[in-house]
């Protein structure tokens, strides 16, 4: 039998309805054995819904699923695993307080005749993917990429024939990403199929053989990756042509606005920098280099003493976020769901929460002014929400991010701090965020942007600071610097 006609997974005409939405509309896919199959699409395109149906989290409403030659009507996550279909979610499913070996065979120790056998088997699995993690170390002590190795080993322990990776690269550094690439190739050589879901198109082009593009719950196109160009792919994802991924760079840099001197903590050493009016300052570095720590200290979110902050020529003390807000700063944090949004609350409440004090007279919040603010920001940022009262948790990632940005836009911040502003949001929404950034600096505000996506930093900022191990190791003009030069400083 020809290998290419041998499908490990066939999905035919799957439909899934949620109240008021058709999440999947006659989706069909055929995944051959031993290929890396990319699925791309904007947030809300239906990728996650499809994966949740395959892994048994949701039930399909219509259609057929044939896995490994067997028609599957109902499945549960554990049945799917035992059949050989495993899924590695963006947020890992590991027990931090248990060891690597225990995590790989969680609940199945007896299959290996006790713990010694478990650790032995676990080591074999890790060896087979070229990982040297000790099976007795605690998962909580591992780096993100090591945790991913453990997840992959766990998937292999079920003798998986198909591994779904949902945004596997979002928490990896570029070094770690290279390792992941090697492992994916090894899996393919072993005949394991991989479904690779990512917003990062470079990875799709690098790893995948076949790509399916989804939009609004439908499959738009499926093609071998060689037959697609980057701009084709984006056009199909968003349903329109995007001329550029980035708007033209803003040039509004003026006089110094903020100076930070002698910022020192356990993790940070001698951080000194200046931010100018109208400037977009990019902070680049590996995950854990101290980028987020710098802005949290500046914003008063972490207790830090001894540094000096000079804002518009005056020394200011910013011990808490409250003072930071009063001084004209705004923070869009890295982890939207954990630190940014109040998920069970409405879009309006999430937008107005930073401005409530201004709407309050004698302790009473002016509800009509509050509704005005909500409406104004929803309109001006084009936040897609049925009503202002809709719970923010139901919005797509991009629209959620816009709610947080809108929250601060209402206050016209002098300094807007963006920590990974486009993480996990789709191409269209990214562009809108970039345009918004340009508007802010045009109005005289300044932006500090942390981003792990180098092209984004290089295309958006006026100046780039490189952070490595808690120190500023380089300063670049992004119009002249190359990615290699910057990464060289970031690795240290």
């Amino acid at each position: 039998m020809e290998k290419t006609t041998d499908y490990i997974l066939e999905v035919k005409d799957i439909c899934k309805y949620f109240p008021g939405v058709k999440a999947l509309d006659h989706v069909s896919l055929s995944i051959p054995q031993g290929v890396v199959y990319g699925i791309v699409g904007e947030n809300g395109a239906g990728k996650s819904t499809l994966m949740k149906i395959l892994s048994g989290v949701y039930e399909k409403d219509e259609g057929t699923v044939i896995f490994n030659g067997e028609t599957i009507e109902h499945t549960t996550p554990i049945q799917a695993l035992r059949r050989g279909l495993s899924i590695i979610y963006q947020e890992f499913n590991l027990v931090n307080t248990m060891t690597v070996g225990e995590n790989i065979f969680l609940g199945r120790f007896s299959e290996n005749h006790g713990m010694r056998g478990t650790h032995k088997k676990a080591k074999e699995l890790l060896d087979s993917i070229g990982s040297s993690i000790s099976t007795t170390s605690l998962v909580g002590d591992l780096s993100a990429s090591e945790m991913q190795m453990v997840e992959i080993a766990k998937a292999l322990s079920f003798d998986s024939k198909l591994i779904i990776m949902d945004e596997p690269s979002s928490s990896l550094t570029s070094e770690e990403l290279k390792k992941l690439g090697i492992i994916i190739n090894q899996l393919r050589d072993k005949g394991v199929s991989v479904i690779y879901i990512s917003h990062k198109l470079d990875e799709i082009f690098e790893y995948c053989n076949i790509v399916t593009i989804m939009r609004d719950g439908c499959v738009i196109d499926t093609k071998p990756v060689e037959e697609l160009t980057r701009s084709d792919m984006i056009a199909k994802m968003v349903g329109r042509t995007i001329e550029n991924e980035y708007p033209p760079r803003a040039h509004f840099v003026g006089e110094p606005l903020l100076e930070v001197r002698n910022l020192n903590t356990n993790k940070l050493h001698d951080i000194n920098f200046t931010l100018h009016k109208g400037e977009i300052l990019g902070l680049v570095g590996l995950v854990g280099a101290g980028r987020t720590e710098i802005i949290r200290a500046l914003y008063g979110a972490d207790k830090v003493k001894g540094h000096q902050v000079i804002l518009e020529g005056k020394t200011v003390k910013i011990p808490t976020p409250k003072q930071a807000k009063q001084a004209g700063m705004a923070l869009v944090p890295e982890d939207r769901k954990r630190e940014g949004l109040i998920l069970p609350f409405s879009v309006e409440s999430n937008i107005t929460m930073a401005s409530l004090e201004d709407l309050t007279h004698m302790g009473i919040v002016d509800a009509s002014k509050e509704a005005d603010i909500g409406k104004r920001q929803i309109e001006s940022l084009a936040i897609k929400t049925p009503t202002p009262e809709t719970k923010v948790v139901t919005l797509s990632g991009g629209n959620q991010q816009k709610c947080i940005v809108g929250r601060w836009m209402e206050r016209n911040p002098k300094i807007l701090i963006l920590d990974e502003p486009t993480r996990g949001i789709d191409v269209g929404a990214k562009y809108e965020i970039y345009v918004l950034m340009n508007k802010i600096v045009e109005a005289g505000g300044a932006i500090i942007m942390i981003s792990s996506e180098l092209p984004e930093v290089l295309n958006m900022s006026n100046r780039v600071l490189v952070i490595c191990d808690g120190r500023i190791t380089g300063e670049f003009n992004p119009e002249e610097a190359t990615a290699t030069e910057i990464m060289d400083k970031a690795i240290g």
């Binding site: 979110a301 409250k322 630190e339 940014g340 949004l341 069970p344 609350f345 930073a354 004090e357 919040v365």
Partner: protein
């Protein structure tokens, strides 16, 4: 078409489950025991409403804020004995005010201890407030030397308390009127003021509230102080009705208050809730107790029923999310 119709009926049931529960309970009990709807029993029910609604009202704020408070047992006991003890030195008005101030202070003290310890999880809060409760109860024991204090032993007038405890306007007990006043005030506080909003936002996501500039620690102390004040009111309502106070008179109020809040539909996860819905919870729980008394159920069986209702309420709350 029929599908959407039945959906909206289901939706209505989901939204107003407690109200439906109350109606069903009344109908079933009235059929089984007609005396249930008699004037004597209605009066009895209104009077039974006394202290519990106040306690549940305060607890609502702590739970909306994302925390919990087991210390109200101690606060109710300590405030009760101190209030009676102060009638002689301060007069009745002074004693009443001092009792309320003491309650608010003890609540604030809970909040202060919690924020000073950096206790931010529900489990930590649960155990620390449990400890605070023991401290307050022990102070009450020391103050009373384990004796029962009686209002009637005071040498000064104590008419405020007796009026509050047994006075009526028409058939409506004065205590109930006072309570309704506080209910409206607290509802407005929750829905209209920035402080009420701060408590809810904190319950929804402490980290996010902190990063947009709310003082989470102060908000936490505020929520606990409100609960302390409401517990003091519960204590006053209780001592006015029974005209005595002991170092353990608050026993059981914490679980019943939490029960009412949760049955009313305020989620233990924090953030979302309603003062008015808590009152439906109070009505349901009080009626349930009264019905079971009318039907001659043993007190042990009543405890089983209350536990069952709590489990069902949490189960329903979690199903709502799906």
């Amino acid at each position: 078409m029929t599908k959407t119709k039945s959906n909206s009926a289901v939706e209505f049931l989901k939204q107003n489950l407690v109200l439906c529960g109350i109606v069903v309970l009344i109908i079933v009990t009235a059929i089984a025991e007609p005396k249930f709807v008699g004037a004597a029993n209605l009066n009895n029910i209104l009077r039974q409403l006394g202290p519990l609604p106040f306690a549940a009202l305060g607890m609502t704020f702590v739970i909306i804020g994302g925390f919990i408070d087991l210390s109200i047992v101690g606060i109710i006991s300590l405030v009760g004995v101190v209030t009676i003890g102060l009638i002689d030195p301060l007069g009745q008005v002074g004693a009443l005010l001092a009792g309320l101030v003491l309650g608010a202070f003890l609540g604030w003290l809970n909040g202060f201890v919690l924020t000073a310890c950096g206790a931010m999880t529900q489990a930590e809060v649960l155990f620390i407030t449990y400890g605070m409760s023991s401290v307050y109860t022990a102070l009450a024991l020391i103050y009373t030397k384990s004796e029962t204090l009686r209002i009637a032993r005071s040498s000064k007038p104590y008419t405020i308390f007796t009026t509050l405890g047994s006075g009526n306007i028409g058939i409506i007990p004065i205590a109930l009127i006072v309570f309704l006043l506080f209910l409206i005030l607290m509802h407005l506080f929750h829905t209209k003021t920035i402080w009420g909003r701060a408590i809810a936002l904190m319950g929804g996501n402490k980290d996010a509230a902190y990063l947009v500039g709310f003082n989470v620690k102060a908000t936490m102390r505020l929520a606990y102080a409100i609960n302390g004040l409401m517990s003091a009111l519960a204590s006053v309502a209780l001592l006015s009705r029974v005209t005595t106070a002991t170092a353990t008179s608050g026993a059981g109020y914490e679980t019943n208050a939490i029960l009412c809040v949760v049955v009313g539909g305020t989620t233990l996860k924090g953030g979302k809730g309603s003062v008015l819905r808590t009152m439906l919870g109070v009505v349901l729980i009080t009626l349930l107790g009264n019905c079971m008394n009318m039907l001659n159920l043993s007190t042990y069986m009543q405890t089983v029923m209350r536990g069952t209702v709590l489990v069902i309420a949490i189960w329903l709350d979690n199903r709502k999310e799906l």
